[in-house]
């Protein structure tokens, strides 16, 4: 490792701050710069859909500290990159050179509103969470567009306040992520908490200006005080235009977080894993991956071997106060191979054995650390 190499990390995100931390931990003694777009710096996003929607005092407790790290932090968003000259330009006009670049600009909320249509609510940033919390305070009805984990968490926050909520999606709640078995259990449980699910035959359109409802392809129209779009995320790659680094799915990386451009690495929600063998291009924008990839990108940027795998398949969510923690491949097809406890009672440990010999372990309503789930998934595997 050459000590004088300069490393530039763009994106003050979980992946970005993790990369910065591990660059120093791995012995990088040269210049290190972190470019961030958020005025308040990096913060933790999973609490936004849970504790922040309930409790204003949580707002100031989410920061991801850069304490103890010798890093030059520039809080102005990156607007352009030149990978031939190896420079990045920020909105305030700075041009920063690098020997190695780590792209960690994350993703933004996908929006459904028509151009000029006002009042669409999303949940991606702390500001979004504050706005939604304020609206929850006096809402008497709500619609959530999207029945993925974020949509079901937002619906749970509505239900916890006694606000009747309808969730609309083409697929059943969490089915794309968790499969039909757990989807059915979670949908039934959610219904007893006042969360109604409406399956649409196609895309929902937001109606009103400001937004007051949704229209479905079959002619159904719904209105509510509150309409929240939870329709996934879009990688933040505008600033990479012209570099050939980014496409519709984000920045493609290999198993070492390397992009197709020499000297450029990427980590977190901005990335997708490039197709390999029979595996197609694949996005996996989850917390554990941002940590694993931040570490891996740091090692790769320094030309060091990976400290561990550059992916981590730990995933969790919480629906109506019940936590679901998963280690292993998703989605889960068919019935579980083994069940300890009772799913109906909301306390069970489940495993699915897959055709490829691997297993997935699920803690359903149980407080179970990731290490125990990893051990269970490993011992259930047939190889």
């Amino acid at each position: 490792m050459t000590a004088a190499r300069s490393v530039l990390v763009v994106g003050e995100s979980l992946a970005g701050t993790t990369a910065v931390r591990h660059l120093r931990a791995l012995g990088h003694a040269g210049p290190l710069t972190l470019v961030g777009a958020e005025e308040q710096g990096a913060y933790s996003r999973p609490p936004l859909s849970k504790v922040v929607l309930k409790d204003p005092s949580a707002d100031e407790t989410l920061g991801l500290a850069l304490d103890g790290l010798d890093v030059d932090v520039i809080r102005s968003p990156a607007v352009a990159a030149d990978t031939d000259r190896r420079t990045v330009t920020t909105a305030d006009g700075r041009r920063i050179g690098y020997d190695a670049l780590i792209v960690a600009t994350g993703a933004g909320a996908r929006r459904l509103a028509a151009p000029g249509q006002r009042g669409e609510l999303v949940l991606r940033t702390l500001e979004d969470a504050r706005r939604l919390r304020a609206r929850l305070a006096d809402a008497t009805s709500a619609i959530v567009v999207g029945a993925g984990f974020l949509g079901m968490e937002v619906a749970s926050a509505c239900a916890a306040r006694g606000i009747p909520v309808t969730v609309v999606d083409t697929d059943r709640p969490l089915e794309r992520v968790l499969g039909a078995y757990l989807s059915a259990e979670i949908t039934a449980r959610a219904a007893t908490h006042g969360i109604r699910f409406l399956q649409a035959s196609g895309f929902a359109t937001l109606t009103g200006d400001p937004v007051r409802g949704v229209a479905l392809p079959d002619g159904t129209e719904l209105t509510a005080d509150l309409v929240v779009t939870c329709a996934g995320e879009i990688p933040c790659v505008d600033w990479l235009e012209g570099t050939g680094l980014a496409g519709r799915l984000g920045v493609g990386i290999d198993h070492a977080c390397a992009t197709t451009v020499p000297g450029v690495f990427a980590a977190g929600d901005v990335t997708y894993l490039r197709a390999q063998g029979t595996q197609p291009d694949r996005r996996a924008p989850f917390w554990s991956n941002a940590v694993a990839q931040g570490r891996a990108a740091a090692a790769s940027a320094l030309g060091l071997p990976l400290p561990g795998p550059a992916h981590d398949d730990y995933f969790w969510t919480e629906v109506t106060g019940l936590s679901v923690k998963v280690v292993g491949r998703l989605p889960l097809l068919g019935e579980p191979t083994a069940v300890q406890g009772s799913v109906a009672d909301g306390r069970a440990l489940l495993t699915w054995n897959h055709a490829d010999g691997t297993s997935t372990a699920v803690a359903y309503g149980l407080r179970k650390p990731v290490a125990a789930l990893r051990a269970l998934a490993a011992t259930s595997s047939s190889d």
Binding site: L14, A65, G68, S288, V291, Y314, S323, R367, P369, A371
Partner: protein
């Protein structure tokens, strides 16, 4: 360096113990415990402890200097 734990917020994910196995462990009920004696994190464990604070998905850990 000390670390504070917001126990009501802790959900027992255990990603801190993944990052810093010398600093944190979780028992069978996923209750977080320290692996070191006393309340001050030993010098050699501090970088890992800071990484663990960073990796807590519910922001329940804080570094106190």
């Amino acid at each position: 360096m000390k670390i504070s734990v917001d126990y009501p917020r802790c959900e027992g994910h255990g990603l801190c113990a993944d990052q810093a196995p010398d600093v944190f462990s979780l028992d069978d009920d996923a209750e977080l415990t320290y692996r070191f004696e006393g309340t001050v994190v030993p010098d050699e464990s501090r970088p890992a402890a800071r990484a663990a604070v960073n990796a807590c998905p519910v922001a329940a850990l804080r570094v106190l200097t």
